[in-house]
């Protein structure tokens, strides 16, 4: 498990078209474990997409990663991921497949969604939920936006950690 202030694991994962992405980059990166079948992930999804669009001009990248076992949960298959991307549901952020689940395990991801904000040096600065209420769009991913604002200003996010809320990650048996 990585702690706030520690360097996060690097990775190279393919998106739905096969292009490979990783957290290394010139600016902060949001690593967002998510999926297709979880109502919490779906409820927060538009807010996270909005963050990707709003913060891209400031050099922030959002990487969505689906780590779920697609054999037991076919709605999380690569084909189903591609269908959502083709419908424009992931505009502004690539949707990556963690087929081996190694990256989700390396990050100790618990739920979908579960967010990790890394600074430009790859150090973990925030981990948790997008905001305090999946059922209230007015929350507007306030915790995530606050964390990014802090990181971009060279400050420590407050809070730096919140409890991830959502469906448990569907590990392979």
């Amino acid at each position: 498990m990585i702690a706030i202030g520690e360097r996060a694991p690097s990775f190279s994962l393919p998106d739905t078209s096969g292009a490979v992405h990783g957290p290394a980059g010139p600016g902060p990166t949001v690593v967002c474990f998510t999926c297709n079948h979880c109502p919490y992930a779906l409820a927060w999804h538009e807010r996270i997409v909005a963050v990707a669009g709003d913060y891209a001009p400031r050099g922030v990248r959002v990487l969505a990663i689906n780590p779920n076992d697609a054999e037991r949960y076919p709605l999380d298959s690569l084909e189903a991921m591609r269908a959502r991307v083709s419908r424009g549901e992931f505009d502004g952020m690539p949707y990556l497949r963690d087929e081996s689940q190694e990256i989700a395990r390396a990050y100790d991801a618990k739920t979908t969604p579960d967010l990790f904000v890394l600074d430009a040096d790859g150090v973990l600065r925030y981990r948790g939920a997008p905001d305090r209420d999946h059922d209230d769009p007015a929350q507007n991913a306030a915790w995530l936006r606050g964390a990014l604002d802090a990181v971009l200003a060279g400050a420590a996010p407050d809070p730096a950690e919140t409890a991830p809320v959502g469906c448990s990650i569907k590990w392979r048996p």
Partner: protein, 115 residues
């Protein structure tokens, strides 16, 4: 009236759904403690129950938001609120409507038998 809430412990939404259901029962003048809460623990139980995800609320056997063609199994259920938003719990208005329909149906049958 038989009010059931079926849940899978792997999904964290059922306490909120149970709270909404009990509030709807109280609002309808019904006993909020009448809910039969049952855990679905295995895929076999899910198949036997016709369980499409957690939480599932049934009133007299009818789903408050009937699922169309969703696979059976242990998963979190995806609901749509009336404004189109995704949610882990049914729209409270759908729960209230289902309760109202269930309470009015026996009355309508009784009145029909008197006519």
């Amino acid at each position: 009236m038989r009010v059931e809430l079926l849940f899978w412990a792997g999904c964290p939404s059922y306490p909120a759904a149970l709270g909404d259901l009990r509030a709807a029962l109280a609002e309808a003048g019904l006993d909020p403690e009448c809910v039969s809460v049952r855990e679905v623990r295995t895929e076999e139980e899910a198949r036997a129950e016709g369980f499409v995800g957690s939480p599932t609320i049934r009133i007299d056997g009818r789903d408050v938001q009937p699922a169309a063609g969703e696979p059976l199994g242990l998963t979190c259920r995806v609901y749509r609120r009336r404004d189109g938003r995704y949610s882990p719990t049914p729209d409270p208005a759908d729960v209230r409507d289902a309760l109202r329909a269930a309470t009015e149906a026996p009355r309508a049958r009784h009145e029909g038998s008197l006519a």
